[in-house]
Amino acid sequence: MTPAEALHGGIGQSIPRKEDARFIRGKGNYVDDVDLPGTLFLDLVRSPYAHAKITALRKEKALAVPGVLAVITGADLAAAKLAWMPTLMSDTQMVLPTDEVMFQGQEVAGVVATDRYAAADGVAAVEVDYEPLPVVVDPFRALEPGAPVLRADKGKKDNHIWHWEVGDKAATEKALKESAVVIKERLYIPRIHVSSIETCGCVAQVDAMGKLTVWMTTQAPHAIRTVFALVSGLPENQIRIISPDIGGGFGGKVPVYPGYVIAVVAALTTGQPVKWVEDRTGNLTADSFARDYHIEAELGATKDGKLTALRVKTLADHGYTDAAANPSKFPAGLFHIITGSYPFATAFVEVDAAYTNKPPGGIAYRCSFRVTEAAYTIERLVDNMAHQLKMDPAELRLKNFIPPEAFPFQSALGWTYDSGNYGGALKKAMEMIGYDALRKEQAEKRRRGELMGIGISSFTEIVGAGPAKQFDILGLKMFDSAEVRIHPTGKVLARLGTKSQGQGHETTYAQILAEELGISSDYITIEEGDTDTAPYGLGTYASRSTPTSGAAAAVAARKIRQKAARIAAHLLEVSPDDIEWKDHKFQVKGVPDKSKTMAEVAFAAYTNPPEGEEAGLEAVDYYNPPNLTFPFGSYICVVDIDKETGQVKVRRFVAVDDCGVIINPMIVEGQIHGGLTMGFAPAMMEEIPYDAEGNNRAGSFLEYLLPTAVETPKWETGKTTTPSPHHPFGAKGVGESATVGAPAAIVNAVLDALEPYGVTNIDIPLSAHKVWKVIHSKDAA
């Protein structure tokens, strides 16, 4: 066995996860498990009205409830100038209202009590009088003249938040005019909610030294610390944010929610630790939503199926404040990845945003800043174009893909795609699913009047934000970090600026370091999420951990190797120039049996460093990626539809992903399975609708339907590998690709099945009722 083979847990190995040890024993440490002596519990009074004036708020009866210690109101916060807080998009959001409530479920007051039952009693006893005001639900009507102005507090005269556009408007207009075929589609991507199984919460504690520690369900602890410091005026060294184990994030645990702030205020005022854990209804009615894009898209092509131009106009419903979690310069996120896998000569995209009486947000739902909206639009339109041209949708795609030799590729809307082989992925998916045979089967079934459909989605993702020159959040540049320390016995402690929410960082980062340091991953401990110990980082979302902190880990390890090589030279009594790193150890060039392992070097670094060399063996890297990474894939879905009921059954779903070099194939496959399920969910089941009064009609899991094991298709996965040329070891990021790519494949399959009925769109989720209506109305006609 060579030393290279002996290395356990290097890159490319499907080793089981380290973090499982505590989770399978029920010994995870989630926020609600944090148990400090004397902890009080915070519960929230929420608004039943979508828009109302608060005419009175009486605390007395609540304060008389046994166990209730305090009731915190907007007026109390206003006295401390904390009734409002900034959002990540530099808008303003209420912590607690002083005059008006703006959406149903909004936090109205906080009740602090000795336990959660007493706190709930207190919430029921707070008396609030409301005077209902006109409700703005529809974003189109919100922009009509005469609509009630929701944000007069900001000096607004209407409900328009911002306009954003990119691309060449005139050239796109001209190209569409000159195109032989132009199709136009309106697509609504409804409001959905990430609904991680753990809701949001925190425990806030102020110690005798005046230091504030907050255990918090946050995907970005460092950024939260800085925001808390800026908003509260507390010195940043007196604030410690700890992200313990997190029960799923998916973007929902990026924003700062009022409950966190109220818990901190409660801890400061009572002097005792205060825990707040929201219930599911609070989570679904008040936490940041995702999507809610009303899209109108036009796609042009030549008669023989060469795509010419793309024009997209979108209205974004942001609720009562723009609290999207986007990089500052990109109010519509990375929506301009919408040209997808195709080399458009020109394209134009514009987005307008509106205020409505709904909860704020615009977060990701397991996707990198509005990338799902983009991928869904282009992949739906391309399929519709294929039907329009009577071409096979696979053929149309293969004819138009950006060819492998064109990378790095400059897109019409300004991105530089790092690498890709789109045809390779689609052909592999077609082969895996038996595409030609399925098309034959479909033709036979169609003759018999049976409804079977095949849908494709060949998406391009954009992840790993990002180059600091383009990407920041509230001015904080989107680099990320790793600090690696090797102990004298050759064991490693590494701390990173990101924060796992189930992605398996404790295992995969250890594998990166194992590969780069030649130390078994069993001896590498990974820590994240404690701002007192981890280096500053922007956190985990948008599939950025491997592209940024993963890269930082590799670069930090290589920095260590530079010093270690000098120590190895000293031990081997040769010049550092004669040392090479090979087979995971330091060798004298050309003399493989004269070598030193990293463990031997580490021991020397503390016991026998060379003259003039500092003791110790550690390095820090703040990695600023030179570009984003562009994972891609091709998905094919086969559906059968029951004509009598409209029920859609996903018979097969093949997903071929290319995320560059893979660190742990088992974990990557798991990420894809989960991502596919969160692509299936909004395509088929999930939506948060609002009625005319602004009532949230999906405020519990009774109405907001998450897929169970029964509805979820049996996923089949495959891969191709096209390394990123600029990432230190060629990786790209994968956590969200499947969520981005899957919905269009499913919807395309359903519309393919329904082609005899001449429909070009059904808005998601594709309930049996919506599908049945299509079949029924056309049959009747």
Partner: protein, 177 residues
């Protein structure tokens, strides 16, 4: 027998209480609880068995699943007083000492968990399924865990883990190879 330290309810007032005798993971407890205290609160806050999680409060997500006399129940929709005189098993009672239960080994080996939040409930639902049906088909497994939501895994590896555990649990019964 472990006597519960927090015998006196923390909230005084007109809330009624009752004394219950429950065996949890083989240890008997005598506790005075508010009548309205949910079983999940009793397990988490009184007995400090925090492996049982709360996800929805409405019996939909199954994160709080525990076994009562071997039957899977959602402990967020049961009062503690309803388990008076019964045996409760939580995730903390799956392993015997350092030896993991086959379902725990299988979830680890097949990557049947990611964030870990649904995992305890999912494993207990699986244990109950396998006790009832030691050799389930894939569709039977999927139906068997349909009361438990997982947002991370897409269920593929959970199904594999349960199949793997079923094999592990049958091997010794057959007397080994």
């Amino acid at each position: 027998m472990a006597i519960d330290a927090a015998e006196v309810p923390r909230t005084p007032g007109p809330v009624t209480t009752r004394t219950i005798h429950v065996t949890v993971n083989g240890v008997s407890h005598t506790s005075t609880v508010q009548n309205r205290m949910l079983l999940v609160s009793y397990l988490r806050e009184r007995l400090r068995l925090t492996g049982t999680h709360i996800g929805c409060d409405t019996a939909h997500c199954g994160a709080c699943t525990v076994l009562v006399d071997g039957i899977p129940v959602k402990s967020c929709n049961l009062f503690a007083v309803q388990v008076d005189g019964r045996k409760v098993q939580t995730v903390e009672g799956l392993a015997s000492g350092a030896t993991l239960h086959p379902i725990q080994e299988a979830f680890h080996e097949e990557h049947g968990l990611q964030c870990g939040y649904c995992t305890p409930g999912m494993m207990l639902a699986s244990v109950a399924l396998l006790a009832h049906n030691p050799n389930p088909t894939e569709d039977e497994i999927r139906r068997g865990i349909s009361g438990n939501l997982c947002r991370c895994t897409g269920y593929v590896n959970i199904v594999r883990a349960i199949q793997h555990a079923a094999q592990k649990m049958q091997t010794p019964a057959k007397g080994g190879p």
